[in-house]
Amino acid sequence: AQSVAQPEDQVNVAEGNPLTVKCTYSVSGNPYLFWYVQYPNRGLQFLLKYITGDNLVKGSYGFEAEFNKSQTSFHLKKPSALVSDSALYFCAVRGLSGGSYIPTFGRGTSLIVHP
């Protein structure tokens, strides 16, 4: 069975500092990996995804993520955090199960950016 782990419930960072939100996964075959963000009282919004090719993926709002196959990780990064980045971040994987690609989400990491 496929799974996603987000080991940190909360990440605190000062505005202007780099941030990293961690994600590791387990899936059969080649993974499709995603990051979504959830702002209070709003639905999830797509940030970026890894399909194949370059291990560094760039997405919305200056975020990027690095795919590491040997470590089965897909950490989300941003060089300089903004207070407006404060939100709940979810990592997701889609792997082949029973002939279909089924999505599995992590439990989420709350990012708090302090002024």
Binding site: G43, L44, R94, S100, Y101, P103, T104, F105
Partner: protein, 116 residues
Amino acid sequence: EAGVAQSPRYKIIEKRQSVAFWCNPISGHATLYWYQQILGQGPKLLIQFQNNGVVDDSQLPKDRFSAERLKGVDSTLKIQPAKLEDSAVYLCASSAGLAGGAETQYFGPGTRLLVL
């Protein structure tokens, strides 16, 4: 382009009552998903439709939950009878293609259910 629409936004019911949620996906999107998101957890897939057929419903509690997507467009999710542990946000999402792995999902605002 209009996003994924869900209604109602909030619902409060007593245990053993029934409730239904409605979702209208982005126009032309072939795949529709229903998720349950319990407070403090990530979304859990309940059911995935491709057009009007079920792709996966392995995590749907079929003794009380049902879902349909007639005509391959909008969808309803029903709970009958509701239990206290069903209190959660129910998210609907859609994606353009035919349930491929690289598909980006677009989420609606969710329906917050409280079972008393």
